[in-house]
């Protein structure tokens, strides 16, 4: 009888959000099957602007056994009910993409079909009044959904530079080992091409069985060493830079949502945390210069600047193979989709879940790599189409940037989704992927893509009867929100308020 198999030696390169999320999940779920060592250098900064998340982050926090209050306090977090888009379809318009649904289906037909029918008759009011998330956001209220409820959900807005260190403390307490240092050389097995060890500036050699490349855009292992191909998507998503800048919080309550304001050559985020507001302008360098972008950002933000504007460069796309040889790339090393829908941390989380599910047993198999890459591709491809929609579904003709995105050729997959919507008010349904029907409906309606037709079953009830039912629904939503506390007040009651606002 042999003893237990030797532990798989996992080496994670890079201590940003992706690196420490991976380390935390591995020590928590597979601590008995692997050893985790993370190499990071204090000299190399992290991108760390990913401050806005999606509701899936709650599962991640919960699976690690973290206490929500403690986590929120540590990361200066606020609650998030969705993203409010300004000026995307047309200057002067706005809509919220809520983490929740619009109304409720009736006789198997989704609510928006009934709304469209009333809308065509000039009745029915605004769609957003039937979404509890929207009304909460509008009134800056917050309360968590009752357990088991699927009516709405929430995420967090937090300080990404605090999230990594928080998970570092967690991981180190559970057996992960941190090594400070810069990688100067990568030792590769000449025959099979696997990475064998990383050599550090100090002269130390760190060997491993499985390497996780969380080195960000540099992609030291997957890009520089293994030369994995990069699929470029900038023809559809031309934004390739961001200038970021925190400001002091304006007076008044904290908004429980993120804002995205369309600009002449991209868009600008506004993410309210407990102690400050994160701002940034994501732009296309082909359409605006760095200085002009920074000036435009400074002119647009509220509050006092807390730091000088900082420019980041990136490009939209993904690796053809996120897992190649014995290197799994997670985070920016694997792909990048701009933060318009707060998907970065979600993509990291999804890749980690797949890695845990496919964690090598006695060696890495081709079939497992293929499965990992298949799952990652599906996520990227579907999010890509959803992001492109925000730029393409517009009547804006006030700048070269918007003229480009409005008239560009979009992927066939998106083209048929939009055509299906225009003709029938239906959203192409997939059981896998991030954004489901309510998300697509929010963007379509919010950006004024109004379908010509709808489900014919929605025509079966009388207009007056339907209008009365919609009005009752709206009153119920409104009353429910009235009973909820103010967002800032809720954070206080939740004991998640940070003691001393940091600088």
């Amino acid at each position: 009888m042999t003893g237990p198999p030797p532990k798989t030696r996992v080496v994670i390169l890079g201590g940003g959000t992706a690196g420490w999320m991976t380390a935390a999940a591995l020590v928590n779920q597979l601590g008995h099957a692997c050893s985790v060592r993370l190499i990071e250098s204090e000299e190399i900064g992290i991108v760390g602007v990913g401050e806005a998340t999606l509701p899936h982050i709650r599962h991640f926090v919960e699976a690690l056994g973290l206490d929500e209050t403690d986590f929120m306090k540590a990361t200066h977090a606020t609650f998030k009910l969705g993203i409010e888009f300004h000026d995307f379809g047309k200057i002067g318009t706005r809509y919220l993409h809520p983490f929740g649904s619009f109304g409720a289906p009736l006789n198997d037909v989704p609510f928006h079909h009934y709304w469209l029918r009333l809308h065509a008759e000039g009745r029915g009011g605004e769609l957003w009044q039937s979404s509890i998330c929207n009304v909460m956001a509008d009134r800056k209220r917050f309360a968590p959904p009752p357990p088991g409820s699927t009516l709405y959900n929430y995420a967090y807005q937090f300080d990404a530079t605090l999230f990594g260190p928080y998970l570092r403390t967690y991981s180190l307490a559970r057996g992960a080992v941190r090594t400070e240092g810069k990688v100067v050389d990568v030792e590769v097995n000449g025959e099979i091409g696997d990475v064998v060890a990383l050599k550090l500036e100090s002269g130390e050699r760190v060997g491993g069985d499985l390497f996780v490349d969380c080195s960000g855009f540099r992609a030291l292992l997957t890009g520089q060493t293994l030369k994995e191909e990069w699929e470029d998507w900038s023809r559809w998503l031309p934004c390739d830079r961001a200038v970021a800048m925190p400001c002091t919080s304006p007076p008044g309550g904290i908004e429980p949502y993120t804002r995205a304001h369309a600009m002449t050559a991209g868009w600008r985020w506004r993410i309210p945390l407990q102690h400050r507001v994160g701002n940034g302008y994501v732009y296309s360098s082909a359409h605006i210069g760095d200085q002009d972008a920074a000036d435009a950002l400074v002119a647009a933000v509220e509050g006092t600047l807390m730091a000088e504007p900082r420019v980041l460069k990136f490009r939209a796309g993904r690796r053809t193979n996120s897992w190649s040889k014995n290197v799994v790339s997670i985070g920016l090393a694997s792909g990048f989709l701009e933060p318009l829908e707060s998907t970065s941390i979600y993509l990291v989380q999804g890749a980690i879940a797949q890695l845990v599910e496919l964690f090598p047993i006695g060696g890495i198999r081709d079939q497992d790599r293929d499965e990992f890459n298949r799952a990652v591709d599906v996520e990227y491809d579907r999010i890509r189409d959803f992001l492109i929609l925000h730029y393409h579904a517009t009547s804006r003709d006030d700048s070269d940037f918007w003229n480009h995105t409005r008239t560009m050729e979009v992927p066939d997959t998106l083209l048929s989704k939009m055509e299906l919507w225009r003709r029938s008010a239906r959203v192409a349904k997939y059981s896998q992927g991030l954004f489901f029907e309510p998300s697509w409906v929010a963007v379509y309606i919010g950006q004024n893509v109004i379908p010509h037709g709808w489900d014919q079953r929605a025509d079966l009830s009388g207009s007056d009867q339907l209008e009365a039912a919609v009005a009752r629904l709206r009153t119920r939503v409104s009353d429910a929100v009235d009973a909820m506390p103010d967002h800032s007040e809720f954070i206080r009651r939740h004991n998640a308020t940070i003691e001393k606002p940091a600088g």
Binding site: H32, D108, A120, I361, Q367, E371, S416, S431, D455, D459
Partner: protein, 465 residues
């Protein structure tokens, strides 16, 4: 405004169970649409009509067409169906049961079958079927409705229904007549094409013509309507090698067993479907039989204004009783995605895309039984990619790969995989983290709970009385 788009009339060709079910579903959901049924002669190879079995979840379809379980059971039209016993269908010839619903209890996010594999490898587990309350009811020949209390073990199983084909058809026909559905007798003499490539009318044998906005082809594998428009068919016979069907029945007890039974012999297998007062027997063989059934799928079940349902769309081996269930799902999907009257390809292709994903995985599930069962010498050398991936991932570590719109549950897959002797070679590291003593104790306790729960269930005869 929407009136220009509305489908005003639907003609269903085929008066079997599938055709009547579709007609009823459309008529009830679309109150302003005229629905008629053309009662063409039945196709002897239409398995969804001739071997009607419903899987768990059928109540959703039945409520859509206004049928209550009580009237089916009370009228002797249907009996409860807990699963299928495979007497000798495995490489080793061992019996196994595919019971609907849960096997064991998961440990947090870790599925029970992975926990079972670990205990099994250490010699600390009973046969997989011992952890299913559905399988225990089948062995005891008992039935009861699942308990509404999720904490009680008696809640952790599901059931479908087996129908007496003639009685079920009669009930559907009576319901259809009551729903103002018009019936036209007679065979189709000619399919008249429209300028746009669809069908404008069907001319019947006695000369009368039926026009409609939408034509629904429920004529069985002969696909009399859609076959006139489109001939793209994917052949599945390499993976489902048995095609010769013989149906018969014999009188039996009025109290049927709550499960079907499959027995193999030489170059054939026979399904025994117990009904009230008789047993329906279906034999499928490689080389001889009464009727040849195709195993294939139409690549485009919806073309222009013609929708094919049941065996006209997908003809599948009846081993797991999925034929009528596939038709039910397709009818509900057609209602969910009902196109506008011009039947633009972007709308019908969305139906075709979703229908394909569901049917491929059902095919994979049935093909698995040939790929790794007693007939592996007859099955094609290369299984479909999606099935190969499923078997590879399961055999390696008990993982079930994701597939879009999968309708076969993980519980059904694992019951069949483990039943066929496909036991994972490795214990998944996540399952390895669960403390073994606790696992073994919990599994032993579960077996005791199942035994106690089943002992208190009365015999099926008392339940039916």
């Amino acid at each position: 405004m929407n009136d220009r788009r509305r489908i005003r009339s639907i003609a269903v060709a085929g008066g079997g169970i599938v055709g009547l079910s579709a007609a009823l579903a459309f008529a009830r959901a679309l109150a302003r649409t005229q629905v008629s049924v053309i009662e063409t002669p039945p196709d002897p190879a239409a398995l969804a009509d001739r071997l009607p079995t419903a899987l768990p979840g059928v109540e959703r379809f039945h409520s859509a067409i206004g049928i209550a379980e009580a009237e089916l059971i009370g009228g002797g039209i249907a009996s409860h169906h807990l699963g299928t016993m495979f007497d000798n269908w495995s490489a080793a010839g061992e019996p196994w049961v595919h019971a609907f619903g849960d096997y064991g209890k998961p440990a947090g996010a870790i599925p029970f079958d992975q926990i079972w594999v670990r205990a099994h490898k250490l010699g600390k587990a009973l046969q997989y079927g011992c952890y299913s309350v559905g399988a225990a009811l089948i062995r005891a020949g008992k039935f009861v409705h699942p308990s509404p209390d999720p904490e009680f073990i008696g809640s952790r199983f599901l059931y479908g229904l087996r129908f007496d084909p003639d009685r079920y058809r009669e009930l559907l026909r009576a319901k259809a007549a009551a729903a103002q559905i018009a019936f036209r007798a007679g065979d189709i003499a000619e399919v008249e094409r429209s300028d746009t490539g669809g069908i404008s009318a069907l001319r019947l044998a006695h000369g009368r013509s039926v026009e409609a906005d939408l034509f629904v082809d429920c004529t069985g594998p002969s696909a009399r309507l859609i076959g006139a428009l489109d001939d793209s068919v994917e052949d599945w016979s390499a993976w489902l090698p048995f095609g010769w069907l013989t149906l018969s029945e014999e009188p039996s007890d009025d109290v049927p067993a709550p499960a079907s039974r499959i027995r193999t012999s030489d170059d054939r297998w026979t399904a025994f479907l117990p009904l009230r007062g008789k047993t329906l027997m279906a034999t499928l063989a490689r080389e001889t039989g009464d009727v040849m059934v195709t195993r294939s799928r139409r690549l485009r079940p919806w073309v222009k204004n013609v929708l094919a349902l049941g065996d006209a769309a997908t003809a599948l081996d009846p081993l797991q009783g999925t034929n009528l269930d596939a038709a039910h799902s397709a009818i509900l999907l057609a209602l969910e995605l009902l196109p506008s009257r011009d039947f633009h390809a972007v709308e019908t292709e969305e139906y075709n895309r979703r229908a394909e994903q569901v049917t491929r995985r059902v095919r994979d599930f049935v093909a698995l039984h040939y790929m790794r069962g007693p007939w592996r010498e007859f099955a094609g050398q290369e299984p479909p990619d999606s099935l190969a991936r499923t078997v590879d991932q399961y055999e390696h570590r008990g993982r079930m790969p994701f597939h879009e719109d999968e309708s076969v549950t993980r519980e059904s897959w694992t019951a069949a995989l483990l039943g066929l002797g496909i036991v994972p070679r490795n214990v998944d590291p996540q399952a390895g983290a669960v403390p073994l003593d606790k696992t073994v104790t919990a599994m032993e306790r579960l077996v005791g709970e199942i035994e106690a729960a089943v002992e208190h269930v009365p015999d099926y005869s008392q339940y039916l009385a």
